[in-house]
Symmetry: C2
Subunit: 344 residues, 2 copies
């Protein structure tokens, strides 16, 4: 690798002068600057950021720690972050945890060793103590999930309200036997979404038995397929189904198509997220649309401001984006059930 020393030797000048010329220092004559730049370009010199960092310069890398990049939820976030950060000369280090705290810890150790400038993380359900320690030593931002022992900077969506709204939509159509399929309560998002489902039932005056919830790994398409099969084959099969994760929705849709379940006649369905394909699934999937892109952009801008501005504005920051129900054809009144007008 070419260093400033190589350039200096070739031109018969000192490394200081080379360094200053490349930094466009006003004290260096234009002629010297020209010769240095010329030589640097010819020799293929590329500054060594590791060395620069040792002299106190900060890294231009931000770590993104997410469960799985294949989930379009997260790939959208990665894209928005990357785009916004590239414009300001920052790079993105991608770390996938697969929702495994051991993997999460290994990644955070690596990110710390590489002295990243900051970390944007979707934490696992219960991060390791060391993970928390490592994160707290860095500017960090939580995304979607919010863990109490981490910093109070958080961007997320209103999970409770989103699921409440989706469930209320079904209840308003007369459903009294509802199923919910989502992530475990150990995850803050899982807990909030389940609560939104349950609260909507309670608000409608329905008994607790009206809602049956199946909870499992939220990133597993396969689990979605299994769970919906179990739900429909069970003794009190629901007439309506609410979903609490994108991947589970994908699994459910595949399974329902394959099994030929008639939607909305036999079963009403409300999905989670709005993927390409949801609009053309069966009669069109009614689903909870989330402003992922806006959230990701906000997230990127916050981190960039935090890293480029002098006064470290570390005050608590929380941004909650509302979801919005996209009504398509997959929801209707239950075939043999109560009418939407349940005034009795």
């Amino acid at each position: 690798m070419i260093t400033t020393k190589d350039i200096a030797e070739r031109l018969g000048i000192s490394v200081s002068t080379v360094g200053r010329a490349l930094a466009d220092d006003p004290r260096i004559s234009e002629e010297t600057k020209f010769r240095v730049r010329q030589a640097a370009s010819e020799m293929g010199y590329v500054g060594n950021r590791a060395a620069r960092m040792m002299r106190g310069a900060s890294s231009n890398v931000v770590g993104l720690v997410i469960p799985d990049i294949r989930n379009s939820f997260y790939s959208t976030i990665a894209h928005e972050l990357s785009k916004n950060m590239e414009a300001q000369g920052f790079q993105l280090m991608l770390s996938e945890t697969d929702d495994d705290r051991a993997v999460e810890l290994r990644h955070l150790r690596e990110l710390s060793a590489n002295r990243v400038a900051g970390v944007i993380i979707v934490p696992t359900a219960r991060p390791h103590t060391e993970s928390v320690k490592l994160l707290r030593a860095l500017p960090h931002l939580q995304l979607l999930r919010k863990h109490p022992s981490l910093g109070s900077q958080w961007f997320g969506v209103d999970d409770h309200e989103a699921l409440r709204q989706a469930t209320a939509h079904l209840v308003a159509q007369g459903h009294t036997r509802l199923g919910y399929l989502g992530g475990p309560v150990e995850l803050p998002t899982g807990a909030e979404r389940l609560k939104g489902f349950q609260d909507a039932l309670r608000e409608a005056g329905l008994p607790d038995e009206a809602g049956h919830a199946e909870l499992g790994p939220p990133s597993s398409v396969e689990y979605g397929r299994e769970a919906v099969r179990r739900l429909l084959d069970g003794p009190r099969a629901p007439t309506a189904l609410v979903l609490g994760s994108v991947q589970l929705t994908l699994g459910v849709l595949e399974e329902l198509s394959q099994e030929g379940v008639k939607v909305p006649e036999e079963l009403s369905v409300v999905g989670f997220g709005d993927e390409p394909g949801f609009s053309w699934w069966g009669p069109g999937l009614t689903t909870i649309g989330l402003p992922i892109q806006e959230m990701a952009t906000g997230c990127a801008l916050w981190m960039m401001r935090r890293l480029t501005q002098k006064p470290s504005n570390d005050g608590p920051y929380t941004s909650v984006s509302p979801g919005s129900l996209v009504v398509r054809g997959s929801t209707a009144a239950p075939s043999g059930g109560t009418s939407p007008d349940r005034s009795g």
Copy 2:
């Protein structure tokens, strides 16, 4: 940040001893090792890789340079790479080019400045000269697209054969007016796919006018929508359509659903890639399935071997994965057209 010096001072020993203890050097007594590890853990010491790299250690970061992570093609690749590399202690730096050579160059400059160990790249159509220079100074691996002035290590799919097969499938069903929608010929993949389409027609003895190709940005869903509209509204609308990119397929499917085009009665369609949603689109999308996951795994293993083994096996390496046609319901004989048996 805690350094070895801090630990040394606290324990009243030298930095050398601390460094050796942490490296588990056999010359250091077990007792000292224990005390050093204890102190390091308590003080939250995290080794500084920048400093280590200055002493000649190589980076544990590999750059991944792709057009757009939202394309599930690429997110699958990123996932497989990340997973395989994490197991060996490597990290992934994600760079999106949006197929813009200026952005590509900026990213490669950053990756070089950060002294990444290697780069896996899906190059833009015509990378900048400096980009080529930067890449050639690093272990690098091309993915999908193959640029002649870069190294001869390449992982890709047999684009020509995949499109030839898809087109032949339609021709065998009796179609004589076919449309193709794909990326520009400037991209190696675009050129190969178009050629596969054209060669299939030629092999079937069809005249050149039998195939009409529309070429445009392969990563634009919106372009897919526009182009299919243009194609169907044109004077000699095709009875069958072959697609040459995942994103274009997504756009086409959305547009066809929305416009209520009857598939396969009015139009036969063969998609590209096999996304969730393709199976439940209309009558089920006949599509070109690609072994992305296997390819990505191979790619990761190659790079890991290249970076961890001593003899730099830089010989030319090419791995071509075949695609496979997944036949579903979106292809059939043209309604008013020639019969499959065109023996005349």
